[in-house]
Each structure stands twice: as C-alpha cells, then as structure tokens.
Symmetry: C2
Subunit: 214 residues, 2 copies
DNA sequence: TAGATTGTTAATCGATTAACAATC
DNA sequence: TAGATTGTTAATCGATTAACAATC
C-alpha cells in the first residue's frame, strides 16, 4: 500500500527545458561560461522566478551572486530529460509528415535515433530514406524485439491510428509519439505524447478571428 | 479607459475543439444526427462536464434529455475557430518540414490554403510543390500585399527565425505559426502560435525515463 | 411522470507569481 | 560590506472537477 503518488513534474516546465537548452548551447558556442536565471528569462521572454523553478526541477544548485555554470546546466537538463543517452525509435507511416521527421536533423541534438520505418504500401516497402530501411508493418514486432526498441513515432492516417498503437503496444513499445489527430487508448504504464497540428492551428485561428473583432 | 480585459478563452479548451470536430464528422459520416456530451466524453477520454464547458464556449445551446444536433455542433465549432472561411497563408522555409506541411492534406478540413512558399535557396526558387510556387524570400512582402495574406507558416532553421518573423510582420502578417524552436519577439497585436517538436519530445522522453525508475 | 441531459455556480487542484530570507 | 543572485514559502490566478438546479 505505498502511497507513491509522487507528484509528476509540471508539463509546462518540462516543455520549457528544450528552450533553455538551445539558448545555453548558443551561449556555449560563444564561449560564455556562466549565466544567471535573470539573463535566461530576459532572452526567452519569461520571469526569473519561473526559470529558477524550472531549473530546480533538474536538481541543479546555483551559486548566489554568480549564477550557473553553463556546462553544468546543460548536462543537468539533458540528464533530466534522458537526452544524455541515445533513444532508439521506429517510425510507422511514411507519408509526408513521416518522411519529414525521418529527414529532420534536429533529433541528433536530442539523441533520438530513428533506426527504421514501417509502412503497408508495397510502393514504399524495401526502399530506404536517408539510409534507414522501410519495412512492412507486419515485421514491426519482430524488429522491435530484435533491436530492443522502446519508442515509436506514429504518423499514420487518423483511421489507422488506434490499431497501429495496439500493434506497437503488443510489440513491447513503452512510449508512443502520436502525430495522428486521435485520442489513443493504451494500457496503463504506456506513455503517449500527442502532437496535434490541428489543435495548434485552432488556437492560432481562433485568436486571429477574435483579434479582428477588437 | 475601457476595461476590456475580455477574458480570453482557455487554451486547453480551444485545443480540444478539433478533437470534437473530427469525432463529430465521423459520426456524421455514419448518418448519426444527435449526440450527447457524455457520449463525446467517453469516446475522447474526457469528462462530460469538460465537454459541456468547452462546447458552451462556442455559444451553442443543447436540449436537455436530447443532446446536440451534430450539424449544429460542427458549424458552431467551425465558426468559433474561424474554420468556416478559407484562410490564405504563405509558408517560409521549404525544408523537410515545410515540404511536409505543403503536402499535408488535412489542412483542407481546416480551410487553410497555403498559396505559395518562400525560400532563399537558388536551387529551390522557381520550382513548384504540388502546384504552389516557391518564390525568393525577397518577394514576400510584395506577394503578401498582392494576395492579401495575413497568416504565415515559419519553418526556417532556428538561427533565421527571428529575422524571418520581423520580415513577416513588416509585410503586414497578423498571425505566425512558428515551427522553429525559438521564442519569437513580435509587436503587440501580432499572434504567434508555437509548435515545438522538441518540447513535445522532452515530455515523452522525461516520462519514459521516470517510468523506468518506478 | 421519471429519467436523462444540459448548463450554472461553487470547490478543488495545479501552475504561476510575489515576497523574502540565505548566501557568495 | 553591499548588492546581486539563488531558492523557498506564501499568495494569486486559472482550469478542472464537483454539486445541483433547470428542462425536455
């Protein structure tokens, strides 16, 4: 009966960490060695308190009057996010968006390694995208176990999203990065993170609309 | 001195509206005519209260014991989001992601019409992507005014994001859909909506990490 | 009518912001 | 030392959830 309701870290805070990381890397390239939370806040349009709270989450301790060492900050954030070690992933659904993600260079910084992709279209199966093979979806489980892959990117059309997620779960996938505009139902313990273009566009569009009337 | 602090609608609520829309369209295809908030909630893994609050935002009024007419719901949500009328947009930065967005069919449902794209690379300028021309970035302002475009999609590399945004603002753009992992600074009144892949990946990754330790 | 559903008003929960003591 | 910065504890704000009256 362990009351391990261990307060998850606030999602908004976690979402800000990559912003800090990218600014810190820029400073490091400029040979800067130390930075204060105030300085970070100014650059990113946040408040100092917010930055300190967020950084505290990673367990880092700064020095009053000085601030934080950039190298130390970077490694603390990376460790907290699990970006210090390579995470192997598969991608399912080699359409426009899937292809774009396969070609996205930015994932190197986040240590995400998309080893292979899967599709059901005979036209695509057997080809390669930037050195990574496209396998038939039927081989997903076999390959996931062979390569010990625990993370999957889901970029199939909405109507196939749930069944694809089911297949991923059956193959032992622990985390699904879902780009389909669908609410996935998965067993407890499986982590789903949604990227919803239409949700984002909705916010932009609604704001532009109400702006007009003002 | 008008105290027009007119309570903006909650972002989380706005973000859920496209989910409702997609479910409602599916029901409509199945010739269903009426639906209750409880039913919507079940399907999307939400609570009935939440759904009613969200729908109330669009100004729709339902009928006790009955629920809502699907057609009426769809049109209320579409109007609220401004998806009932076509929104013309430009895209700047024809890389992997930009190309994917240009090819994304889903925007038709959201009535977003990407008329043209812009880039600085001579290899790309003058070509077409799915019938839409790629112009040199230097012609952005001219074209924006000519076609009365008020919405721009920003898919350039991080280091060029701010200057591109400045150029967009100068050209009279009212809303920027920003895919660069950068905090943009824009004049008041200009709307920026960020899509941050790295923020989303951070949440997934951190969760998978802490899952492991449990 | 009885029961299901809507929609409002109040309570809770969580994130942000403010205040301030500790410290180099 | 004085001043800048950290990090904690308390207050505020906003979104979600709960309770419940209204209604077809």
């Amino acid at each position: 009966m362990s009351e391990t309701k261990e307060r998850a870290y606030p999602v908004p805070s976690i979402r800000r960490l990559p912003l800090y990381l990218s600014f810190l890397r820029k400073l490091r390239d400029e040979k800067v060695e130390v930075v204060s939370s105030t300085r970070i806040a100014e650059e990113l349009g946040l408040t100092g308190i917010q930055v300190r709270k967020d950084l505290a989450m990673t367990g880092i301790v700064g020095r009053p009057k000085i601030g934080h060492t950039i190298n130390e900050l970077v490694s603390h954030i990376e460790c907290f996010l699990g970006w210090n070690q390579t995470r192997r992933a598969f991608l399912v659904g080699v359409g426009h968006l899937g292809t774009a993600l396969l070609g996205y260079k930015g994932f190197q910084q986040e240590n995400l390694d998309i080893l292979a992709s899967f599709d059901t279209s005979p036209q695509k199966i057997g080809k390669e995208i930037l050195g990574r093979p496209i396998y038939p979806l039927s081989r997903f489980e076999e390959k996931a176990k062979e390569l010990n892959v625990q993370c999957a990117i889901l970029t199939v059309p909405a109507q196939f999203a749930q069944e694809t997620a089911d297949l991923m779960v059956k193959a032992g996938i622990q985390g699904i990065w879902n780009f389909a505009p669908v609410q996935l139902f998965v067993p407890e313990g499986i982590i789903v993170e949604n990227v919803s273009l239409s949700s984002s566009l909705a916010v932009l569009s609604q704001r532009m609309n109400s702006q007009k009337t003002v």
